[in-house]
Symmetry: C2
Subunit: 594 residues, 2 copies
């Protein structure tokens, strides 16, 4: 097992070198997020991640994770101490509204911190991730009274939050849910069962605020008949003191492939008198409210792919440096890092990690711009970009997280298959991220159906044009690395351009053709977006070198971008070919011929 050190230099190169923080720092209300302050925050956060969160990650997994005993969930050793330190340090409050105790820092900074928590301990970091969802929902749709009652302790982290959407027959199709909510005076009584509730029950805090989707008796069928409720684990008296237990409990924990430290609960609401719930906003608008928070949640889950990739890379790198095996080309009999094939694996892991991180951070900056820019045209532009790239970040980054974690196992050889090494844990942990918060198939349909076809390609083609502009900028450069990067990026964006037009044309005829091509289209989008971001970093690094910069990270950025251009971007043309094959062979078999 290896330690975790936050990749602060890489993060800083994105925030400062590329200028992402500058664009956010210029927004109204974000003036305090200066380079110095952010550096200090990152530095402090990296200590918490390294010293408190990372060391308890693998032991918790080996010990079997959280356990349910007599209705109480016991989190693994060290979980609560780490959580207390997290709350005491004010880390939970970083990106939230200062009116309710938040620190009001940009999402861009919040994302960088979240990467550290997730890399250090993905299972643990899910707890604040879910709290974030509850905070966003209440901030956007709660009454002033509700905000005052619930937000301060959620933002401080003294209480945690959960999201209760899924039921046994209602996963991707949330509209099929059956949980009932009946009005009873100033509140509702909730009755039903929810599954896959992350941190639905735990021993980290005194109270948990469940955000629960349910139907009122006369609600219309489907997604338009779903309402959203606040359902606390422990009732809260008007003076803020704790009341009695609400009528809800954790019935069982799921035995999962990974993230064992994170309790995944089956929750029963209202087995007795009914669980007290408070309606958020209006009846029947619950799904609409959910959608307003999905961008952030999906970006955070996409970031899990980046985070687990970074952790797997650090672990594989450490092993490859230490492990001596066979004669090597690169270092004449030293560690396996000298083998070209091991190098290829490590470079692939690194390039995918840096590319997914760059796309995700860029998107986080766009999210801040869409929320806060003083000009509406900028907000609209940024919001369109956020809508377009959110499914790409969620799905592509999490798919790459799985791929990188799998490469991490492979770098370890036989030891990678032994749980003691820790590489296998990342492979298991990573596998959830393509599934939850909307499966990656759902993301692809969102990208093609809602984001591409609905605006007739405006957002996508605007993006393609920007990559073309970047390529035009690269055309001015004669450095070999940049020439090679430009050539592969140009081929990649041409493939994306062609596929985009093909889907727009196809959808006019056969909708199934567009839907059937959604997954390779999303992959193609991610690959090109990653290549474009690494090209921007390479260009910036070259400019810095020209200006006399001698930080070795500058040369590294050129190597990583060129590796990605040569080894990853060439996948683009094949994907475009596959997309334009249409749905024929995909849908040709009768169901009973499978």
């Amino acid at each position: 097992m290896t330690s975790y050190d936050a990749p602060l230099a890489d993060m800083r190169f994105l925030l400062h070198g590329l200028g992402l923080l500058k664009s956010v720092n210029a927004l109204p209300g974000m003036e305090e997020a200066t380079e110095d302050l952010v550096d200090a925050i990152l530095e402090e956060a990296s200590k918490l991640a390294r010293d408190k969160l990372a060391p308890i990650n693998h032991p918790a997994d080996l010990a079997g994770g959280s356990k349910l005993e007599n209705g109480v969930v016991r989190t693994p050793d060290g979980w609560k101490e780490a959580y207390d330190a997290f709350v005491e340090g004010g880390w939970n409050a970083v990106p939230f509204d200062s009116d309710f105790g938040g620190q009001g820092l940009p999402w861009l900074v919040g994302i960088a911190l979240q990467e550290m928590w997730q890399s250090a301990n993905m299972a643990w970091a899910l707890c604040p991730l879910l709290t974030q969802g509850a905070i966003e929902l209440l901030s956007a749709h709660g009454s002033n009274e509700q905000k005052a009652a619930w937000l301060p302790k959620l933002i401080s982290g003294e209480w945690t939050g959960t999201m209760n959407l899924t039921e046994p027959g209602a996963g991707s199709d949330v509209g099929a849910l059956k949980t009932r909510a009946e009005k009873s005076g100033d509140h509702y009584l909730i009755r039903g069962q929810k599954i896959f509730i992350t941190y639905g029950e735990h021993d980290l805090t005194d109270n948990t605020v469940h955000m629960v989707l349910a139907r009122t008796p006369d609600a219309p069928a489907g997604v338009k008949g779903i309402s959203l409720f606040i359902v606390p684990k422990v009732m809260v008296n008007p003076d803020g003191s704790p009341g009695g237990r609400n009528d809800l409990r954790c019935v069982s924990l799921e035995e999962k492939l990974g993230i064992h430290g994170s309790p995944t609960c089956v929750m029963a609401y209202g087995d007795n008198e009914g669980a007290v719930g408070y309606l958020v906003g209006e009846e029947n608008r619950g799904m609409e409210y959910m959608f307003t928070m999905m961008n952030n949640a999906r970006i955070s889950v996409g970031l899990e792919g980046v985070s687990i990739a970074e952790r797997a890379y650090q672990q594989a790198r450490a092993y490859a440096r230490e492990r001596v095996q066979g004669k090597t080309v690169g270092n004449g009999g030293g560690a396996i890092i000298g083998h070209p094939d091991v190098r290829r694996m490590l470079m692939t892991m690194r390039a995918l990690t840096e590319a997914t991180r760059a796309v995700t951070y860029d998107l986080a900056a766009m999210l801040d711009i869409s929320n806060r820019h003083k000009e509406e045209s900028w907000r609209t532009y940024a919001a369109r970009r956020v809508a377009l790239l959110t499914p790409v970040v969620k799905a592509w980054c999490t798919d790459m997280g799985v791929e990188v974690a799998s490469l991490g196992v492979q770098v370890h050889g036989g030891m990678g298959y032994i749980e003691e090494s820790g590489a296998a844990q990342h492979y298991r942990d990573a596998r959830i991220a393509p599934i939850y918060e909307g499966t990656n198939g759902v993301q692809a349909l969102d990208l093609v159906g809602r984001k591409l076809l609905r605006d007739k390609g405006e957002g996508a083609l605007e993006y393609v044009d920007e990559v073309h502009s970047l390529i035009n900028g690269l055309n001015q450069r004669s450095e070999e690395d940049l020439v090679v990067i430009r050539r592969h990026l140009a081929a990649g964006v041409d493939a994306l351009d062609n596929a985009t037009h093909w889907l727009l044309d196809a959808a006019g005829g056969n909708q199934v053709d567009a839907l059937a091509g959604a997954t390779p289209y999303l992959r193609l989008f991610g690959i090109v977006a990653g290549g474009a971001m690494l090209a921007r970093l390479a260009l910036r690094a070259t400019e810095s070198i020209e200006a006399g910069g001698d930080d070795p990270i500058l040369a590294d950025k050129l190597v990583v971008a060129r590796f990605y251009a040569e080894q990853i971007l060439p996948q683009a043309s094949g994907l475009a070919t596959s997309i334009s094959a249409g749905s024929g062979a995909i849908m040709a078999l009768a169901e009973d011929r499978f």
Copy 2:
């Protein structure tokens, strides 16, 4: 959890439809392997796989697999009953020499059976797979006395065999091993520790025959100083009756990511008086002997990729047919199999399974031809093909096994992450196959270093020529499916052709360029080989339809081949582009910049 039914129709289409069995049946000594006999064997085997092996697979995994208690390994519930039934049915003996009780059937048939055992229960099937290795070693290199002493009970399955290569500091680099063998009268005394010994200790049989690599005191360093020994768990008296325990024991079991039913042992030899071992062949030739059996073992492990893919496909298919979620395009609100994106996943799983199976079976037939053809020129040709494609089958099929198992998890959505569903087990089990029996990186180096460069591309370009001939044959056809298949296959083989020439040229200059491209070259080779085999199946299916055939499998073969051509083969050109980028960016970073 779902059941397993052997894909007999697909197997028969390869054996009979495509004519693989016919080519083997014509070999000297293989005359008995008629279509009727083989069909009867497959039918019987499928019952054992379905009724005895498959049902105990998932329960064993959930219960934690094999356990070590006081030096004794207890295999999971049902393991021994299944093994007894396997031995009583004579299944262990199928492909082995009839002089020692084997049934003398072709490897081609053995491979089809092995697919069933592995699909039904990969962890269980490893036991006979290791016995197969011991049998092959002894058959090829044992003295007549040794053969008579050990082969009959290994072939019947009354005893099992193991392979003892790996030590803590000697994995891929076997030459670094430290286990000692000192001569003592008619035998040697073995002392040392071996790790990762599959079924090194278990309760299925009375005796286990360990094949152990060790060094004699004056042996030269490296791989040329390694000798091979027979080291039985229980000594055998001259009359064949059991003697005392040999000085060896299982020290511990590894906690692995998957294949929990299969005990992976740390073995200690000679802790006390020294373990009695019998030299096989001559001193210092152990590695040479090992290489003679590696083709079969590597093909069998490649087949594990096919097998786990088939099992994962069957499970995902069953789930996708039953699970109702959301509105579908294909079936108007029915099961998720109607969703285009789920279809794409299932079709990908199926196409990769069928392609990997076809390449593996074709290679097994080549193995029989290389062993038995009466004309030397044919044996030489077939041996060259076996040498070329063995690393491709080992690495490509196992990589695809992981990919298909991962898709199987994804088809299940949230349920896929829950161990109860069984999908996660396949994902964990599949992950070992790219690692053991030579990591897939080692396979790629074998392909490029030993198979491509050493014969200056003769074998590879001969293969490329054959695919060109197949394409010429397809040129005669105007059916749309075949036209599309031909077009994509032609692009694929052109990419393979170009990459082959690039590597041959590059190796003349910079060896590292060739080594750094080994992994994408192997992937490219696998993709094209799979496409070529599916094209052959499609062509044969078309001919059968023309001849009046109306079995629905004929139309299925066209759909699967076209899907593969459109969705998988287009990856080829990008891989060729990446290979020809050379090693520059792969090797550019200094080790301390990782």
